[in-house]
Amino acid sequence: MEVRGDLKYTEEHEWLQLEGDKVTLGITDFAQDKLGDVVFVELPEVGTILEAGEAIGNIESVKAVSEIFCPVAGEVIEVNKQLEEEPDLVNTSPYEDGWIVKIKVDRSDFADAELMNDEEYQNHCAAE
């Protein structure tokens, strides 16, 4: 299982990367492996205003449908349209081409959100 040092993680297995006031969000390698082959990703509309902890969409795999949560408040500024045609990018490239949304956030909200670093996340997965 791959965990990256430059990302932050949630208990529900999303990863987040902050650049300026922009956060890119996806699901982790651990999560894609648990889900199995992803067959459909339901994306939010660009412009959606999110509260912290709100569900932004669904991921459907051959085994189950799971919600995707965003731990920080903000506005959806871009969604990965590629996933509509190629949902398997979530499996093959969870940290790169399989990103899900980009959100504009307040940097202080991001600092306050309860997120894990790579080491903490690794321990979290080991305990599951």
């Binding site: 648990k34 082959d37 067959v39 459909f40 051959v62 085994k63 949902p87």
Partner: protein, 488 residues
């Protein structure tokens, strides 16, 4: 290629692919009603041209569907341990009862006072279901278990509204619940809130205590739950919910573990549904008619759909005078043919037979558990299983053998697989429900086969099934790029 076959395994084309033009099999008489030309009556965009419906002769159509039906796996053909679905054998006596002329040709618009035999049967079925579940009244209207859930939640909403209690907008649902529970709640505009289970797989009273406040309309409980475990604190759970003004919805999908032994009404349920196709041996519809009767305590009875059946001066009548009724959820009085079969099953077994049915179902599941527990990971192994046993693929993971591989292997060996990857709270779940139908030889054959498959390697299993009319299908491809219409 109207009859293309490969030995006795027919390679069946679609109806559309059969050469059909100009082969109409029916000769219809001239109509006496003058035919109108549609043009001018409707705007052009509402008129359709010729439709490419295949036109075939009767034997061609009969053979097509008969050949397809021979590909099916059914409970009449073999063991079908699909967990949470209670695929018990459906006695042929049920069919004979439903085919009785007076039942089969009864008309819902028959004159007032007619159909007394049929109404009496339905009235008795309501009373039997009330007695079995410990509820005060039963409605036979819903056409499926999930439809019963929806109706049940409509009654919960009606109850709170009638009392002027408008703040209850949420429903607590354990994380092991079947997906229809949150969807039924959502459809009546209640917010489905997940109640996390405790480490023993059961409802945790302390968590419930924290979450159960005056915004909660009620809780939806499945007992035994979908891990096949009995909620041993069910009474405390119901008491807590009631003390805070909520109602208890009881998902009766797993009644095959309770009938004749324990009653949801005595545990504290306010409303529950039955799945007649599970517990009471009616056909699993495959999209056809079904029945999901609900039982309620008297506090919810005023809101039941109308009409209800009442007995007056020795006659069973329909009572439409129900001012608080939520209205109708199904035309007429539900799917009668199915209800006749459920009545037949109940009357055939009788009270002691129903109790034995439950005992055998639970014994069979625990026998399989005893046979399999050294070979597979059994979550919550220290607790007694009820009518189904839950295994996972954890022990096989090192050899890269997954639940899906084992399911395909079972198909290759002639068994229907168990329910896989449900409940979602357990990773790699296999939920095995043998029902009371099976004898020890069948259970042993199944256990031996599953143990044998678990010893094979992933490559061997990945090639299965081979002996079926259609081999391993590309499930991922079908879900990613579904082709939903004929691409002729």
């Amino acid at each position: 290629m109207s009859v293309s076959k490969n030995g006795m395994v027919f390679n069946e084309p679609l109806l559309f692919e059969l050469k059909s033009r100009g082969k109409a099999g029916m000769d219809l008489p001239e109509t006496e009603i003058p035919l109108l030309d549609g043009t001018g009556l409707l705007a052009a965009q509402h008129l359709r041209g010729a439709v490419a419906i295949p036109s075939l002769s009767e034997p061609e159509v009969v053979r097509h569907f008969t050949r397809l039906s021979q590909w099916n796996y059914s409970v009449d053909g073999g063991f079908y341990p699909l967990g949470s679905c209670t695929m018990k054998y459906n006695p042929k006596l049920n069919e004979a009862a439903a085919a009785i002329e007076g039942f089969a040709s009864a008309h819902p618009y028959a004159p007032y006072g007619c159909n007394q035999g049929l109404k009496r049967l339905l009235y008795e079925l309501e009373q039997d279901l009330a007695e079995i579940s410990g509820m005060d009244a039963v409605s036979l209207h819903p056409a499926a278990g999930s439809h019963g859930e929806l109706l049940g939640m409509m009654l919960v909403v009606a109850y709170h509204k009638d009392r002027g209690d408008h703040k209850r907008t949420r429903v607590l649902i354990p994380d092991s619940a079947h997906g229809t529970n949150p969807s039924s709640a959502s459809i009546v505009n209640l917010e489905a809130v997940t109640l996390p289970s405790g480490p023993n797989g059961l409802i945790d009273l302390a968590t419930l205590d924290q979450m159960m406040d005056d915004t909660v309309a009620g809780i939806m409980i499945t007992n035994p739950n979908t891990c096949g475990l009995f909620e041993s604190q069910i009474k405390e759970v119901c008491d807590l919910v009631h003390a805070r003004g909520g109602l208890v919805y009881f998902d009766g999908a797993n009644m095959n573990a309770l009938v004749g032994v324990a009653r949801p009404g005595d545990m504290g349920a306010d409303v529950l549904h039955f799945n007649t196709h599970k517990t009471f041996s009616t056909p699993h519809g495959g999209g056809g008619p079904g029945a999901g009767p609900i039982g309620v305590k008297s506090i919810l009875a005023p809101y039941l759909p109308k009409p209800i059946l009442v007995e007056r001066r020795g006659q069973v009548q329909m009572d439409y005078n129900r001012p608080k009724s939520i209205g109708k959820v199904r035309s007429f009085y539900g799917n009668l043919g199915v209800l006749i079969r459920a009545w037949t099953y109940i009357k055939t077994l009788g009270a002691s037979g129903l109790r034995e049915m439950t005992q055998s179902a639970v014994t069979n599941a625990n026998y399989l558990k005893a046979r399999l527990k050294d070979h597979f990971d059994v979550p919550f192994v220290e607790q007694r299983s009820m009518h189904e046993v839950l295994l996972t693929d954890k022990k096989q993971q090192e050899a890269h053998v997954s639940t899906m591989d084992l399911a395909k292997g079972l198909i290759e060996r002639g068994f229907h697989p168990p329910t896989v990857y449900f409940p979602l709270v357990v990773s790699g779940a296999m939920l095995i429900e043998p029902t009371e139908t099976e004898n020890k030889e069948t259970l042993d054959q199944f256990a031996d086969t599953l143990i044998e498959l678990a010893g094979l390697d992933h490559e061997t299993l990945a090639a299965y099934p081979k002996m079926t009319p259609v081999g391993r299908v590309d499930e991922v491809g079908a879900a990613r790029k579904p082709i939903l219409t004929y691409q002729g």
